[in-house]
């Protein structure tokens, strides 16, 4: 009864192609946006910002990026950390060379630079597939991290090898640097995430998105019906890298403020968790990217609360426990629902359609 579709007629192509064809979805979305834009900024505090909301938004963006490549175009990538590092370091370099440029533009340009790098590292995908490609993308991860770690030009010859963000403002309010208020960083990320996810959603519904999916489902057949593999695969790499680059730029500029490349963009801290997000959320699903990011960001916090505060284990033991539970959860999740949280949601929707009646 809650999710009733009957009675919602579509009388034009426009309404048939709407992003949220169902009234319930539209209401839910508007409510969510209302809460996100008009309520949370007034109640947010530093803990919620730093621990949950901002990382959630940033990782959602990265997950959308990877989902475009892996979920929609079928090219497995393990190089997410490397591409996020490209985004972060281009932001840093642009910031130092153009002190007056608007931060929003800087971040978008960093995304474009990452897209260019993504195209270069996407070239092998034309020749190799599957796990060979996954391992090949690992090469980009190691190479890029090595590059940013070892070539001093990238971190402006600083002694520590760290890069630190300087303060930038939007409409007179600082959004980066230590002085930025919680609501400003949150809103800044939120605006970018909302805009970019709408763009992604529409891209996926466009000709380009359909050709990605054709390549994913069967590349030879796609080629025969006239989908150019070169253009399609490289465009997926470019757009995916753009999203990941923007996420990396935000991760550095807005979230962390100061980073050291080998720690912050390690394969274990970025690449695998993001891959896990899209698998646990659902491959090839926008909603899944968000659900997966939310799950991965909140789970360690919940586990830590449970073990350190409730049971009273020491931090080190709790950390080991966290890794163990983390791994076990991954396995359990893959066994129970390999199609991810998005599938669970669609099952729930199916149930809600009839509820409370059995048929």
């Amino acid at each position: 009864m809650i999710y009733k579709e009957t009675g919602q007629y579509k009388s034009s192509y426009k309404s048939d192609h709407a992003i949220f064809p169902l009234l319930q979805d539209k209401i839910a979305f508007i409510t969510l946006m209302f809460i996100a834009f008009l309520i949370i900024p007034f109640v947010i505090n530093s803990y919620w910002e730093k621990a949950i909301l901002v990382p959630f938004l940033i990782f959602s963006l990265a997950a959308i990026g990877l989902n475009i490549l892996t979920g929609y175009c079928g090219q497995v990538s393990l190089g997410t950390g490397g591409f996020m590092a490209v985004g972060a370091f281009s932001t840093y370099k642009i910031m130092t060379y153009f002190p007056d440029m608007n931060i929003m533009i800087i971040i978008l340009i960093s995304g474009l630079i990452t897209a260019a790098v993504g195209i270069i590292f996407g070239l092998p995908s034309l020749r190799i597939k599957g796990f060979y490609l996954a391992v090949a993308t690992l090469a980009s991860q190691f190479f890029l991290v090595w590059l940013f770690n070892k070539v001093p030009w990238f971190y402006n010859y600083s002694d520590t090898g760290q890069i630190t963000v300087s303060e930038r403002t939007m409409f007179g309010i600082p959004v980066t640097g230590a002085e930025a208020p919680s609501y400003a960083t949150y809103l800044f990320c939120l605006v970018l995430v909302v805009l970019l996810s709408f763009a992604a959603k529409n891209l996926i519904r466009s000709k380009m998105g359909r050709s990605w999916m054709a390549i994913r489902d069967m590349d030879i057949a796609a080629e025969i019906i006239g989908v150019p593999p070169l253009k399609t695969k490289l465009s997926a790499f470019a757009i995916s890298s753009f999203y990941i680059g923007v996420a990396g730029a935000l991760y550095f500029a807005v979230f962390l403020g100061a980073i050291e490349v080998t720690e912050s963009f390690d394969i274990m801290t970025i690449s695998f968790p993001v891959l896990f997000m899209i698998i646990i959320g659902g491959l090839g699903s926008m909603l899944g990217s968000f659900l997966g990011a939310a799950f991965v960001v909140t789970l360690p916090i919940g586990l830590k609360f449970l073990m350190v505060d409730m049971v009273g284990l020491s931090a080190v033991t709790a950390k080991h426990f966290e890794i163990t539970i983390w791994g076990l959860l991954m396995i359990v999740f893959l066994i129970v629902e390999p199609h991810g949280l998005a599938r669970l949601w669609s099952i729930a929707k199916e149930k809600l359609r009839r509820w409370p009646f059995p048929y």
Partner: protein, 334 residues
């Protein structure tokens, strides 16, 4: 012989020996991939876990001591002072076999017929879980592993090679770690016995049958599950050997599990499905890395090419042979 030539030979020799170490890890990957189609990312953590367990048995640590002490306020640390190496290795082997059984029972059995990417993610989960369990059981401090394999430079080789240099040159002889020589010998024994096992025993033939075709193997009455347990146990055993070698060289610590990442380029170079490929790929990568470090590394003032050189080498190679050196030819049917 000129000093340059001798240095070159020394580099190649050392490269070959570190390549053997890579091959050892890659071998575990290939075995599992062939038999169950699983790309086992946890292979490196297997090595770590085996090495941790071995040290734990040797020094008689109480498993989960930290956890028990914290929960109940007790103070357990060691059961006994030491255990003979032989017994400890044997017990570790038993543990690895038990681990293989548990993995088959709890993970693989439920994931039959899933996408390869899902299985791959599951092994990443396995890697995390196993690493956590290893740390919980034995503690995360860096441990010294000593099973009686000698290490350090080989004096004999050093003295033997001094004479080879041209008269009057400042040559000190070749430096080759004895540990690496041992590793090479052990790896050769391991590979030969594996080859004999799979060639001449009934179980070995069943193993090859499963690798060729799961369904055909099933239909002639081979138990897929027992073969999988066997294969994972063998990989566990290889991981233990690799863990002992790497652990003796650089201590047993978390970074040991990262050797899996070292083995990946070896795999794509040699092909996922070929045992000779894993060995030759490992040797090529080992030599290539050492040569690059010495002859190209000088041009980058930054050095430390090791992290990615192997990957780029494998990548360039892949552009010409997408299935690796000895991999099965990729045939696509529509």
């Amino acid at each position: 012989m000129s000093v340059e030539l001798l240095n070159f030979i020394e580099t190649v020799l050392n490269g070959l020996m570190s390549g053997v170490m890579y091959s050892l890890v890659a071998l575990g990957f290939v075995l599992i991939f062939k038999a169950s189609g699983v790309f086992n990312f946890a292979q490196g953590v297997f090595a770590l876990f085996a090495a941790l367990t071995l040290v734990g048995y040797q020094t008689g640590q109480v498993p989960f001591a930290h956890l028990i002490n914290e929960l109940f306020g007790t103070n357990y640390h060691n059961w006994y002072a030491s255990m003979p190496n032989f017994l400890a290795i044997l017990l570790t082997m038993v543990t690895m076999i038990a681990l293989a059984w548990i993995i088959e029972r709890l993970v693989l059995k439920h994931l039959v017929n899933q996408d390869p990417i899902i299985l791959f993610m599951a092994t990443i989960g396995l890697a995390f879980a196993l690493e956590g369990v290893g740390d919980l059981m034995w503690g995360s401090d860096v441990k010294v592993l000593d099973v009686g394999i000698p290490s350090g430079g080989s004096i004999w080789l050093e003295e033997a090679t001094i004479g080879l240099a041209t008269e009057g040159s400042d040559y000190y002889g070749m430096y080759v770690d004895v540990l690496n020589i041992w590793a090479t010998v052990i790896a050769v024994i391991l590979v030969v016995s594996l080859a004999l096992f799979s060639q001449y025993t009934k179980t070995g033939r069943a193993l090859r049958a499963v690798a060729d075709d799961h369904q055909a193997a099933l239909s002639v009455g081979i138990s897929l599950r027992s073969i999988w347990i066997l294969v994972w146990a063998i990989s566990g055993f290889i991981a233990m050997v690799a863990g002992i070698m790497w652990g003796t060289e650089s201590g047993v610590q978390f970074s040991l599990s990262l050797i899996a990442l070292k083995a990946l380029p070896v795999l794509i170079l040699g092909g996922f499905t070929s045992i000779p490929g894993a060995i030759i790929g490992g040797l090529l990568i080992g030599v290539g890395e050492k040569l690059a470090e010495i002859y190209i590394g000088g041009y980058f003032e930054t050095g430390a090419l090791e992290n990615w050189f192997a990957y780029v080498m494998a990548l360039v190679f892949l552009l010409f042979r997408p299935q690796g050196l000895f991999g099965d030819k990729i045939i696509e049917r529509v």
